[in-house]
Amino acid sequence: MIAIENVTKIYGEGKSAFRALDDVSVTIKDNEFFTLLGPSGCGKTTLLRTIAGFVDPSSGSIRLGGKDILQSPPYKRPVNTVFQNYALFPHMTVAQNIAFGLEMLGKPKREVKATVEEMLELVRMTPMADRQTGQISGGQQQRVALARALAPRPQVLLLDEPLSALDFKLRKDMQLELKRLQTETGITFVFVTHDQEEALTMSDRIAVMNAGKIRQIGGARDIYDQPAERFVADFIGDTNFLDVEVLEITGDAARVRLAGGAETTARGAAEAGTGMGAATLATRPEHARLVPVGQGVMEGLLSQVVYFGTDTHYHVTLSDGAAFTLRQQNTPDMAHAFTQGDRVGIHLAPGVGQLLKD
């Protein structure tokens, strides 16, 4: 278990001081695939490097299995990192790279050899063992970096955007591979990425970060369906933001009036802490449906239709001028139900929109 408490990192001094981490607290459980997700500069890599020992926090504490690790230099921390650029030692072979950590730990030669073979097997690189690291492809380098970091059996594996240098297809394969490795080894993975899809598909839990703070922690479904605030809703997936008026609150549910006057229900009232009156409602494009005028809760002009193969995006200009996007699966029967320039109605699934604190 990694317990991160009130960690703050300030770069520079005085006016130019920059808070890379702002009072971050989070607990990462054992055997968890934990993802730090956020835009570049949000502090996710700084947090990872703080755990690894390459960044000294200005204040706060990090404990690993109950032991304070901040006093230890990186080479005394039982955590290993998969670096963004892999950082494979260019003057060593694949096998020598994987053996490095074990040798540094002073493991006996036979054990090192056995573990290296096991690791090569694990990442399916056995035939490449004696290649120089410059002679293998990007995907293979990635797997060697993984094997090298896993070989010493760390308590925690830190992964710093390890897939960002791979092309699309390879990235998909490696996502599955990473998940498999995590399940097989039972090691805690802390994974840093700015790619929401990567985060959603692999993680047990995700921490969404922005401006040095953790904005929301939860499972993929929680974060996508029930974003805690506007930043999270906006960063993860596409979201329509509507100005609404809250009429009635029952527990977490609320009855709200839309700009056009129609009413619908939403959730998140308790968490967002909204009172009566003006609020923001977030809805996902796939949670709305186009309907003939008069049948929906809102109306507008269909300004653009963009065909995406599996689905179609509809951009609607609402009566009050706001933009609204819908996404609908393409099925053979409804392919051309609406065309650009039509006046359309919009149906919102009741109870799925999320009220936000702003």
């Binding site: 000294d56 926090p57 200005s58 204040s59 901040l70 006093q71």
Partner: protein, 304 residues
């Protein structure tokens, strides 16, 4: 800052000075330190058989530009010194200009070769530079002396009937210095040209510029930092040149370096030599300062 970071910073600082100490010690002992002694010497009185007497005197500095007539005690400018200063400046400037005239097209030529062969061309420029300066000067001397290759060839062809005196002239010094320092002009110009984006030249032609206009309005302004660097790199060692004027100038055409050396023989004026050295150093520093400022401005421009 946390205690941890503070402790690490302190260790880092101690290690840094520890690592630097061998280099700094050698440099202080055999490069920078002795310069301070030169300053002291320039304010002392010459000894009877070389060296100095520990008596304070402005005379050395005074003698750099002025002289007192031995009989009439009349003050006049030290023409001998001034003419050597003037020759040093003049020859250095002319050498710089000549090096530019040859060096710029050469750098351009190399920068426009295919990427793979550029390094080889640059190696061709650098090989002579890293070979012994004395040998290269000596090669020039063999070429132009009275019984040297050029005169022998011209005599044999019947173009002249007596050897032309080229050696031991200002021309021969300049020729030697251009030859010796040319790579220092080519190197920085090439460095800035290699980064030059030739699509800008295409844009220039597209917008109706002639070849000359493209050269002067597009290429030259963008490689100017390299030209300035090259000019300083040639000008500065020319000012302090010692070997080339000694070998090719033949004792009559002294430059500053030789004038300085002359002060350090037996029964010579060491304080005056020290003062002359510092004068040379000051001129060089002014040139370098000019260079740093020019380079700094160019840097700001490209950032802003």
């Amino acid at each position: 800052m946390s205690d941890l970071s503070a402790a690490r910073t302190a260790t880092e600082r101690r290690n840094r000075w520890l690592l630097l100490s061998p280099a700094l010690l050698i440099l202080i002992f055999a490069a920078a330190g002795p310069l301070l002694i030169v300053v002291v010497y320039s304010f002392l009185t010459p000894g009877d058989y070389g060296g100095v007497k520990p008596e304070f005197s402005w005379n050395a500095w005074f003698s750099v530009v002025m002289e007192r007539d031995f009989f009439t005690e009349e003050l006049t400018f030290a023409d001998a010194h001034l003419s050597i200063f003037w020759r040093s400046l003049k020859l250095s400037l002319m050498t710089t200009v000549a090096a530019f005239v040859f060096g710029f097209p050469t750098a351009y030529f190399i920068a426009t070769r295919p990427k793979r062969s550029r390094d080889a061309w640059m190696l061709l420029i650098m090989i002579p530079f890293w070979t012994n300066l004395l040998i290269r000067t000596f090669a020039i001397m063999e070429l132009i002396r009275a019984e040297g290759t050029v005169n022998t060839l011209l005599l044999w062809l019947g173009i002249i009937d007596a050897p032309i005196q080229m050696l031991f002239t200002e021309f021969s010094i300049m020729l030697g210095m251009v030859y010796v320092y040319l790579p220092l002009m080519v190197l920085p110009i090439y460095a800035s040209m290699e980064r030059f984006d030739f699509s800008l030249v295409e844009a220039g032609y597209d917008l109706y510029a002639t070849r000359w206009k493209v050269l002067t309005k597009v290429i030259f302004p963008l490689v100017k930092p390299g030209v300035i660097a090259g000019s300083i790199l040639v000008f500065v060692p020319c000012l302090g040149a010692y070997v080339t004027p000694r070998v090719l100038g033949g004792g009559k055409n002294l430059m500053l370096g030789n004038l300085i050396e002359l002060q350090f023989g037996q029964g010579r004026n060491w304080p005056l030599g020290a003062a002359l050295s510092l004068t040379l150093l000051a001129i060089v520093m002014v040139a370098l300062l000019f260079y740093v400022r020019a380079a700094g401005q160019e840097g700001e421009k490209s950032h802003g």
